[in-house]
């Protein structure tokens, strides 16, 4: 069955460094991947969407890549700040849903940026 996997271990980095989070998927080919940020006690907030025919997408300090060969998406935060500390979720459409909006989420990776 299709699976989305993120590193469940927290990622601890120093302020100013680049944080890189990984999302791997197996057993299907999603049309797109989305990345969300979730703070404790709040709902996820959309950050970026990348389509299967796109290699890279940028938004301010954020960059997402999509490698359909490796079946992997990488999410980068450059010049990280303590305010970037949160859990980051990747999500994608289940297989064969066309334009349907249902999302399958990974388990999320918690990022902690320290001074």
């Amino acid at each position: 069955s299709q699976k989305i996997e993120q590193n469940s271990e927290a990622l601890n980095i120093q302020e100013g460094k680049t944080a890189t989070l990984t999302c791997n998927y197996t057993n299907y080919s999603p049309a797109y991947l989305q990345w969300y940020r979730q703070d404790p006690g709040r709902g996820p907030v959309f950050l970026l969407l990348i389509r299967e025919n796109e290699k890279e997408k940028r938004k301010e300090r954020l960059k997402v890549t999509f490698d359909t060969t490796l079946k992997q998406s990488l999410f980068h935060i450059t010049a990280s700040q303590p305010a970037d500390s949160a859990t980051y979720l990747c999500a994608t459409n289940p297989a064969n849903t066309g334009t349907a909006s249902k999302l399958t989420f990974g388990t999320g990776t918690r990022l902690q940026v320290t001074l």
Partner: protein, 117 residues
């Protein structure tokens, strides 16, 4: 974008009782989604609620346990019935953005934190 509110924000309930969660959106939307996020877990889709038709449930979720109403294009409710401690979770509703294109982001409500004793 869409602004979504949920009520209640949290509740503590006794086993065997039911709780109805409300979701209000500030714009008209076709589909509303209900997710569950169990402690330490990611979001799992419970059902999709369309106005004017029965909700569509995902595998592992049934209408008797999670009845959903969708009386209009801006409002939906999810009821967690005959609760047990295993239902302790955060319940979130979401809607799809209308920015155009085939694939759109989703906007989530703040969630309802449910604890069942």
């Amino acid at each position: 974008s869409a602004v979504i509110s949920q009520k209640p924000s949290r509740d503590i309930c006794q086993r065997g009782t039911s709780l109805t969660i409300q979701c209000q959106v500030d714009s008209q939307v076709t589909m509303m989604f209900w997710y569950r996020q169990q402690p330490g877990q990611s979001l799992t889709l419970i059902a999709t609620a369309n106005q004017g038709s029965e909700a569509t449930y995902e595998s592992g979720f049934v209408i008797d346990k999670f009845p959903i109403s969708r009386p209009n294009l801006t409002f939906s409710t999810l009821t967690v019935s005959n609760m047990s401690p295993e239902d302790s979770s955060i319940y979130l509703c979401s809607v799809e953005g209308v920015a155009g294109g085939t694939y759109n982001e989703q906007f989530f409500g703040p969630g309802t934190r449910l604890t069942v004793l």
